[in-house]
């Protein structure tokens, strides 16, 4: 089956990406649970990946998809390290609330 999608302009993809990024920003700024804040960061990474893939498809250039591949590898490493930090914090302070984790605040 050969189906070509020609009716959706690039701006639709970019607008969807911008909306998802803003929702992620709202989550990071309003939520106090460290794990949910971390998930909002993953959402923001994904919206930027969507932008890269959209530009890659519309320009016929493979570099955007290669960059998305590397972003996903870095995101996997970042998720593992971040969750390990959350575990270490939970072991020391017994809380998930980022307002109570303020030992690096001056």
């Amino acid at each position: 089956m050969n189906f070509n999608i020609t009716d959706i302009p690039l701006n639709s993809y970019l607008a969807l990406s911008a909306i998802l990024f803003s929702i992620g920003v709202i989550g990071v700024l309003t939520r106090r649970n460290a794990i949910v804040v971390f998930m909002c960061i993953e959402l923001m990474l994904n919206s930027v990946n969507l932008t890269l893939v959209a530009f890659s498809a519309f320009h016929g250039n493979i570099t955007g998809q290669i960059l998305v591949f590397f972003v996903m590898a870095v995101a996997a490493a970042e998720a593992a390290v971040g969750l390990a930090i959350i575990i270490a914090l939970f072991r020391n302070k017994m809380t998930m609330n980022i307002d109570e984790i303020n030992i690096m605040k001056w």
Partner: protein
Amino acid sequence: MNFEVVFFFSIAALAIVSAILMITQRNPIKSVIFLIVNFFCIALIYLILHAQFIAIIQILVYAGAIMVLFLFIIMLLNLGDESALTEKIGYKKTIAYVLSAVLLLEIVIGLSLPWTVAASRIHPNANEIGTVEAIGKSLFIDYLLPFEVISMLLLAAIVGVIVLAKKKFQ
């Protein structure tokens, strides 16, 4: 209004709704579930953009590996009472909403400037560049050094995670 347009906009609406539900749920487990729904929607949009390899990797790595890691950590930390994980979504939110609205406005203005509109339809080569073959060739010929550097980064991440999460002996 043909089928593809309806499909794209319903998937985009589902992605936005699941993202909003994700940040409004009080229980982190439900947040994880809605984030997985969002990742599947984004994978479908990658398929619309003819990026098959990235769509499969999105489901395998993000919806599979990373979100299972999140669920595992939530399950691991859920010792005793729920109050350590749930929270009261409370005050000081107005400034956050205003800042996010300004950011969204800024991005939309930036996108609607005339010099950003470069292409109005998907490039005819898009079917060829999204395949595993094309990405593999590019990855192992043009981007071999970054690929090897990524393996070192993952190794460093493994060592770092073990050091961070290891129980300290007093």
